[in-house]
Symmetry: C2
Subunit: 365 residues, 2 copies
DNA sequence: TTTGGACATAAAAACGTTTTTATCCTTCTT
DNA sequence: AAGAAGGATAAAAACGTTTTTATGTCCAAA
């Protein structure tokens, strides 16, 4: 019978218990004497509320240490306040270097999101198919408001799917389809061209390319640049010396051993990343060949340790953490409604010549 | 005037528009003829609902592809369905190897959470103070239901804070205070002891320890093990050969150069991780000293590439990704209410002898 | 026949927001 | 002086859940 009365008293006792915990919009309303609607509008900066009122409410919010409850906001607005990142799961022993750049990517993204309302959430995937499924699930369940991923394939189904469903995303890498979407990339074609041309100018004719899986867009880009260097020099591309596989140190080593054992072996190698480079150097060590003496090596940097290899290796340095920051920044802007066409960046990695190899001028044979 | 009517019609049109999008509990209620309360209970497995009813509802949920809305759940329950991880931000160029193990940690955690309701969220921090603040913010704003972090200090304020506020967490590493909390750790004392003892048995007396920042708990553990090896052999510990700093390759190189230039230099080095090891090898290269000939080196693995160093280095292999899985598993169990005292693991890394150094038996001098 | 549990389900309240709609004053127009 | 227009705020509805409370119905005990 006395339901109402009972409830009231319960509510009251509950309130007094929890009062200390976290002030809500209701607390602010009670404190300032305004309605919760006005409080909400004042805090969101709506122009309809009077300046004086806003000031009072903001002041109260500050003194009470009010923090908007993200769950309430999320439910009402349908947003999640999350930015999702797809990250490869590296399970196999011996492949620990795989995805090593993700620390830096995440680090960069995290910095970009630092002063936003968004939190970073990470979703592991195992293979291309899994990556697609995960992306789709994020969209379908609206588990995040935006998505970042790398490992773009030439014909990446994630990009089609995301473009079609108009879900905000930024990719690290470009696919080969004429779609408009936000992306950050490194000019792999240019880098491979430059590296190869440098070696050709140094007199090399048999050049190996230790490359990534050909399903990956950037692997194709590098082959393009590699070929173009030969073409522009009027030479035949040493396509038989292109090895593709995973990015492991083991792959680098095995490839180098195989290629150097060929009847017509390479006199120079271009390596996809530092992991494979380390493998290549390990192979050269076993074969008693020395970099800069018997063969030349140019590599891509990922964790910037080529300087400490023995000998130091000439590389294209990719500031991955900066790319990560760009990814985060672009995603924020994309989620804020900015046009995807304007959110693109393709950077040229910086060549760091570490070997006294006088490549680019020397005529070796 | 016709407000009610108008609203009804609007609601109807809205519903028919959005019907396709995502079925809610209300949709299920309408479809099955039960109330939303019953539907909710049926789906959550509450025992009060009749078996027949439950079956019908579950069937409907399946055919309609119902997925519980996490935002609704979150608001109602006060949970976030997130597991937070604190990750160091690696900003400076030259420190790209820093935190390299985080890819694997995250990978492991991600796998552990795969079949749970929890999503992984990553929070970057810059230094000890920032890490604490971030942890506190997560607790205060209940931005997550649980927390994982590493880089534990001997006197880590995060642990006090989290224990006191009874917030579920698991740390990678232990502090030096007698508190009960869930953790995963490597037996660093044992590993340092074993490595040092092995070198002592090999005849070394002047042994260097390339160590981490002494504020870190595991840095102290390693010093303890290092000292114990000397103690048990009845020798004086070469404390003057302990270098502490960051985990960068540069630090490894600089330390090795400095130590080897001392009047009474080390004849062997124990290295904290592969990054510093690479630096040490680089230094040895510059000084024309060879591992296994002039000096011996034992290191800790993190990304399992020591096998490819020139020469390959004997290491303690730490299966970081597995530790990550444990962290995730423990956190899930902790969040489910399990006792923290039962959620502890200290693993002994596996010694992988890669050098033909016959250490442990040889008497070098 | 009543009373009073069980049992199964429905109704209602609540979580904390945002947003739409309603209400109340002023002030300006005519 | 009456009405319109505008400004400021309040009220109410809604987002999708879970959980507490209420409402029946049936059957055994009195």
């Amino acid at each position: 019978m006395l339901t109402l009365e009972k409830q009231r008293s319960m509510a009251a006792s509950k309130k007094s218990e929890h009062r200390e915990l976290s002030p809500t919009i209701k607390t602010l309303a009670a404190h300032t004497g305004f309605s919760i609607a006005t409080v909400s509008k004042a805090l969101r900066g709506s122009p309809v509320v009077a300046q004086q009122t806003r000031d009072a409410i903001v002041a109260a919010a500050r003194t009470l240490g009010y923090q908007a409850n993200i769950r309430g906001m999320a439910l009402r607005t349908g947003k999640t306040y999350r930015a999702a990142v797809l990250m490869p799961i590296t399970s196999a022993a011996g492949y620990e270097w795989d995805g090593v750049e993700y620390t830096q990517i995440l680090s960069g993204i995290s910095q970009a999101l630092e002063n936003s309302d968004y939190q970073l959430s990470v979703h592991g995937f195992r293979d291309f198919g899994d990556a697609f499924d995960t992306a789709r699930r994020i969209v379908d369940q609206s588990a995040a408001d935006g998505l970042i991923f790398s490992g773009v394939q030439a014909d990446d189904p994630r990009i089609d799917m995301l473009v079609e469903s108009d879900f905000p995303f930024v990719s690290l890498g470009r696919c080969r389809k004429p779609l408009t979407y936000a992306h950050v990339d490194v000019d792999n074609e240019w880098a491979a061209f430059t590296a190869t041309a440098r070696l050709i100018a140094g007199g090399h004719r048999r050049i190996a390319l230790i490359n990534a899986d050909r399903r990956l867009s950037y692997a194709l880009d590098r082959i393009d640049g590699f070929s173009r260097a030969f073409d522009e020099a009027g030479l035949a591309t040493s396509m038989d010396l292109v090895a593709d596989g995973d990015l492991s140190t083991r792959f680098g080593r095995d490839s180098a051993l195989r290629l150097l054992g060929l009847p017509s072996p390479p006199t120079a190698l271009v390596c996809i990343n530092e992991s494979t480079t380390l493998g290549v150097l390990s192979a050269l060590g076993s074969l008693d060949r020395r970099v800069g003496v018997h063969v030349d090596v140019i590599a891509y940097d990922d964790i910037n340790v080529s300087a400490y290899f023995t000998p130091p290796i000439t590389t294209f340095y990719q500031p991955i953490e900066l790319l990560g920051r760009k990814l985060g920044e672009f995603l924020l802007r994309r989620m804020a409604g900015e046009d995807a066409a304007k959110l693109t960046m393709v950077s040229r990695p910086e060549l760091i010549g570490r070997q006294p190899d006088n490549l680019g001028g020397r005529n070796r044979r």
